[in-house]
């Protein structure tokens, strides 16, 4: 018995050693930095150099300014619209991918994965070219007679939303695909053979079974969309500001790290709050409902 506990101790150390590099990297360079951001946000002044003490000054500054609040509200609205757009456009694609035979899926999968892995700046630059005054969209619209002369399609809210949706579409497509692939196609066939048409089958079988997985994908998109700053900076212009860009300016332009930190934390709280709300309001009741049925 004694030798066996000694051996299991030794093995435990061995496994811990294997975990250590990754675990330490994430603790020291992710968890601690996140803690640091929280700490900085409670500094009273507008700089971290030589700062000490705790104060709510940054948070007061944020919530007492209607401009900041409207930017936050707008950011949340953007993120929600982006989620909705991704869902509406991405669901059919992910669903059909899941039901495709693997051999035929290949090229389509590449069309989803390459934009996902392609550098964000390159994608956004592509949109700048597409939507520019002499870009493809303007030329097509003029050629079709919809526009009489090329218009400024960039630097407005719609452009930001469109580009964000395109950026996050691969995420939702892959989430939907993964979830739907786990739904037994026989379940759907069974439902169809029971004389339920496609719409009913969809509502009764596919949606309840896939909702939890898809909402997980959507909440990831919400967090990423709400904190986006590259896209709003490049295609949004001054009229379409988002919190991410605001924070970026505070950190890199104004160098007001405490205020940037407070805003970053508010952003984080909004994201996680929404995720928690989604979880309790939709995912839990839904999965519970599944067990009851």
């Amino acid at each position: 018995m004694n030798s066996s506990t000694a051996e299991s101790e030794r093995r435990k150390t061995c496994w811990l050693l294997l975990l250590a590099p990754a675990l330490l990297t994430l603790i020291v360079f992710m968890l601690i930095p996140a803690g640091i951001v929280l700490r900085i946000s409670f500094y009273p002044g507008s700089t971290t150099i030589g700062a000490e003490g705790y104060s709510l000054a940054q948070y007061v500054k944020f919530f007492w300014n209607p401009l900041h609040l409207s930017v936050l509200g707008e950011t949340v609205a953007y993120a929600l619209i982006v989620c909705l757009g991704c869902l509406v456009l991405g669901f059919p694609v992910g669903y059909s991918l899941a039901r495709h035979p693997p051999a035929k899926r290949r090229v389509r999968m590449l069309m989803v994965i390459v934009p996902l892995t392609l550098s964000l700046v390159v994608v956004v630059f592509g949109w700048l070219v597409l939507l520019g005054r002499q870009g493809l969209i303007n030329n097509v619209l003029v050629w079709l007679g919809i526009l009489s002369s090329p218009q400024q399609l960039l630097f407005n809210r719609t452009a930001v939303v469109i580009v964000l949706i395109q950026q996050f579409l691969p995420f939702i497509i892959l989430s939907v695909m993964n979830v739907v692939m786990q739904i037994d196609p026989f379940l759907e066939q069974a439902s169809t053979s029971l004389r339920a048409n496609r719409v009913r089958t969809f509502i009764k079988v596919v949606i309840p079974l896939s909702t939890p997985g898809i909402l997980a994908g959507l909440s990831l998109i919400f967090v990423m969309a709400a904190s986006a700053f590259v896209t709003p900076r490049l295609v949004g212009g001054p009229r379409a500001q988002m919190v991410g860009g605001f924070i970026y300016d505070q950190i890199l332009t104004t160098s007001n790290w405490p205020f940037g930190a407070a805003m970053a934390f508010i952003l984080l709280a909004v994201g996680f709050g929404l995720m928690a709300a989604l979880n309790t309001a939709i995912i839990r009741p839904l999965t519970r409902g599944l067990h009851v049925q």
Binding site: M1, S3, S4, E7
Partner: protein
């Protein structure tokens, strides 16, 4: 004379114990998979662990291989306590249910793998690999990859790979369950003669009683992690020690009743059989082939039974009979066209010598 001497030598060798399981126990948290298992395996013996799935037979096998370490108890191989010896120093060969051939190596490389690990010289390795492949008749496939082989060929590669190291014990984990029925019987015979020729000490695990009965020198019938009975195939089949063994190995009819003073067994509805053994409640075990047509057993009182179903099993016909309140299974033969139909009556006799009595259900 010489033959006799060889036999004596062989049986003398057989007495030497190679593997000992002593009070082996395995717990997974609160779940006890093997409560207390003891067994000795002698040199050259082919022992089978037989039991339903989840009876702990595979866990026992894996403890011997060294993949699972027991919670308590000991395992000895050739007298050496290997309980805490890692798998790679145990000298145990194993053939897995799915063969576990290395998919990225050719057949020859698979067989050579263990030889490289023990540091054998290249030339010696090559000749050993050739030799092993010849034994399993696969020389012509040496450069193929496992996925290019049939199931039977894969099994032979796995066997050659395990045997190349000349292990002290060979372990086979459900070796035939991945093969179709016809191939299974042929490969079983091949494997049997190969292991016999090599005088390999072998422990194998199966849930298939036919496999156990045809291959093993000794069968360990396992139930809930414990050995219910250990014995030769004949002992297991003809003289089951418990109701579980009787039901799990082969077909049988079970009659509940009492053994009375004066050597008589009487069922609750009055069927009488001669009996010996402890007075009291008992269950009679009757194999289908020991229920005979009355005229085949002249000295035994005949009884009239009603045929409930009649099934055709090739050479034999299997009848389900009702005799008073009891049900009996009978395997017998009928001339062409004279097979009785359900509802008809038949006169039968139960071979009294072949009836066994086991403890009743609690």
């Amino acid at each position: 004379m010489q033959i006799l001497a060889q036999d004596a030598l062989a049986s003398g060798l057989q007495r030497e114990t190679i593997v000992v399981f002593r009070n082996l126990r395995k717990d997974y948290g609160a779940l006890t998979v093997v409560p207390d298992f003891s067994l000795e395996i002698r040199r050259g013996e082919l022992v089978c662990l037989l039991g339903p799935s989840g009876c702990g037979k595979t866990t026992t096998l894996r403890m011997l291989a060294g993949f699972i370490s027991p919670t308590s108890g000991e395992i000895l191989i050739e007298g050496q306590n290997v309980t805490r010896v890692p798998a790679y120093r145990r000298d145990v060969g194993i053939v897995f249910q799915n063969y576990a051939l290395f998919p990225h190596m050719t057949v020859a490389k698979n067989v050579e793998y263990g030889l490289v690990n023990i540091g054998m010289k290249r030339q010696e390795r090559a000749s050993r690999v050739q030799d092993m492949l010849r034994r399993v008749e696969l020389q012509h496939l040496a450069e193929r990859y496992p996925r290019e082989l049939s199931g039977g060929q894969q099994q032979r590669v796995a066997l050659a790979r395990a045997l190349a190291l000349q292990p002290k014990v060979l372990l086979l984990d459900e070796p035939f369950s991945n093969l179709d029925a016809q191939l299974r019987v042929r490969l079983r015979d091949d494997l049997h003669s190969l292991i016999r020729n090599l005088k390999m000490t072998t422990l194998f695990v199966t849930h298939d009683q036919d496999e156990a009965l045809t291959l093993a020198d000794r069968i360990v019938v396992m139930n809930k992690g414990a050995a219910e009975q250990v014995g030769s195939p004949e002992e297991i089949y003809d003289a089951p020690a418990t109701r579980f063994v009787a039901e799990f190995v082969g077909q049988c009819s079970l009659l509940e009743g009492q053994i009375l003073d004066g050597g008589e067994f009487r069922t609750d509805d009055g069927l009488k059989l001669p009996a010996f053994g402890q007075v009291g409640k008992a269950t009679a075990v009757i194999r289908p082939e020991n229920v005979k047509k009355a005229r085949e057993m002249p000295g035994v009182p005949a009884r009239r039974a009603r045929i409930e179903t009649s099934g055709y099993h090739g050479a034999l016909t299997r009848l389900q009979l009702r005799l008073g309140g009891s049900k009996l299974i009978m395997d017998t033969q009928f001339p062409v066209g004279q097979k009785p139909k359900p509802g008809e009556q038949i006169d039968i006799a139960i071979d009294p010598v072949a009836v066994r009595f086991v403890p009743p259900v609690q």
